[in-house]
Symmetry: C2
């Protein structure tokens, strides 16, 4: 019966969350009963989409939820052996028991690092892949803009667009991430939105307009992009980070979608599961050939999970934000 | 050589247009030269989409443009005979010469009134048909909301949704139009947005949410609808009347498109021309069977064209706003 630490939300944030709104709680997790496994989480994922749930959806005083990668440490379930790796949605805790529902056995690619399965090879990468190719219906050689291009999803979306021979502009909020996108990833133009208004920078960076805007931000980024959309342009809307803390995501020029006959569509990865096998094959190849690069920011220990989430919402991460819970 | 009166824009409106921003100008139109026809317009169309062009696009001091139905009164072009009816884009004038480009010969349905070809049987009806069935991908039995349901496009969209066995809510701005929609058209619920906030009325009228919102308005209507959209809902965006005079079309809750994975798409009728033959067959049948009803507001004489446009933007029309230019 291991002692497990878990993260509780104890007060709803009204704006940017603060550390005192979370609590680390020790709990005793029972051993695996018949038909169950006991799982020890190794890594947990921290994602922007967790922010809205803090405002509504996440109960107070119970363990939070999120993507995680764990290892079976006890098994009384014939489908799982001790040592099996399992993807799960029970992050923000060190141990849990399960009857197997909601677990997905992971056979890691020996030529890739284990953690890539938590971002580029996982739902993070799949969100970028399907969002761009299915929702955005990206065609070879189009004009593409990706916001939060230094983030986990944005960086993959931007690189897939480059692989499809597109002209790709990325926006990010630090000089380090801008340099990585320009020098390592090779985007055609990179905007640091803290240097000057996004509107003027985007206009200068998109002389041929925008066919596909992969939106993670909403707000001023979306407004700037709407001014630049080409006829029949597509805007897959993956996130609205700009509004997660303020509660607002205003744009004043949504009417441009009529004049340019533009589509906006919100989506989640499960909207295009039929593409998952293609995604896994393509992405494994791109990672191994170096056509897709990634960055990770890994904090150590569950005590740092709240700080990881707050840091992510402040853009302190390079690439995927993870918390390592065990070896 | 007939004398033709035409409507010029002489000053750009900053908000709601006023009569003194237009001028009626007399001009001499030459007789038809070799290869040409001389056309006398019988009716001209007045549409909400004309408003944005007054702000940008329409040159000052020249005849305005718009849909019209004319009759050939002189012909030196073998493709046209005197008496032929021609749809054209040269409204806001009584006569014009043409080499035939941009004219579409019209063979009116003898069982329908001539003017239906300027609304239900024309681009107005086709915009409703394709916007709802193609862009909105309407399915039988869905939950539908149509704004400006008393208008030319909205009234057709609402009735097509009823024909597809949907639950249909319409919004409008006068008691007369509300009564027509409820009693004559038979919508399931009708909202007069001037009676109470659209948000609370729409919530009460859509107990099962909204699958398709046919948007002619933007602004507060779109914001209210975004709160009610069901998962994987669609919003064909036909117009943003709320913003045409103010220049703004703000919504504060666009992030709802992520949570409910909603699609918004701006469109024009030419986006689905492949459906035109189906549309003509279906709509002629629905009009003749009485399944689709319509209203018209017809002002008389080109002198009234500016007043017709201003009246339309103030919602004074019932159904299609037309100006009759000649018998």
């Amino acid at each position: 019966m291991p002692v497990s630490r878990e993260v509780h939300l104890i007060e709803r944030p009204k704006a940017m969350p603060t550390l005192d709104q979370f609590q680390i709680v020790e709990t005793n997790v029972p051993d695996a009963a018949d038909g169950e496994v006991l799982v020890q989480n190794l890594y947990m994922s921290v994602d922007p989409a967790m922010r809205p749930r803090l405002t509504a959806g996440q109960d107070l005083g119970v363990a939070m939820m999120g993507g995680a990668l764990g290892r079976v440490v006890q098994s009384k379930n014939g489908d799982y052996a001790v040592g099996d790796l399992v993807s799960n949605r029970l992050g923000f805790r060190e141990y849990f028991t399960s009857d197997g529902k909601g677990l997905t056995k992971l056979t890691p690619d020996p030529d890739l690092s284990l953690t890539t399965h938590m971002h580029a090879m996982g739902m993070t990468g799949f969100t970028a892949y399907g969002g761009l190719l299915h929702i955005g219906a990206l065609k070879e050689g189009e004009q593409v803009f990706v916001s939060t291009a230094g983030g986990a999803v944005g960086s993959i979306a931007a690189q897939i667009a480059k692989i499809k021979n597109c002209y790709v502009v990325g926006s990010t909020g630090t000089a380090e991430k801008a340099a990585w996108l320009k020098d390592e990833v090779g985007l055609d133009a990179v905007i640091n939105y803290k240097d000057a208004p996004i509107r003027t920078q985007l206009e200068a960076a998109t002389p041929k307009g925008i066919d596909v805007y992969f939106d993670n931000v909403g707000g001023d980024h979306l407004e700037a992009a709407l001014r630049r959309m080409n006829t029949l342009g597509r805007i897959p809307v993956c996130g609205f980070i700009s509004g997660y803390n303020s509660g607002h995501s205003n744009v004043s020029n949504l009417s441009n979608i009529i004049y340019s006959r533009v589509m906006l569509r919100g989506f989640v990865g499960t909207d295009f599961m039929h593409m998952y096998a293609d995604f896994q094959r393509d992405m494994a190849g791109w990672l191994k050939s170096g056509q897709v690069k990634y960055q990770e920011t890994v904090l150590d220990g569950i005590d740092n999970a709240p700080a990881a989430l707050i840091g992510l919402l402040n853009g302190l991460n390079a690439g995927k934000m993870l918390v390592k819970l065990a070896d």
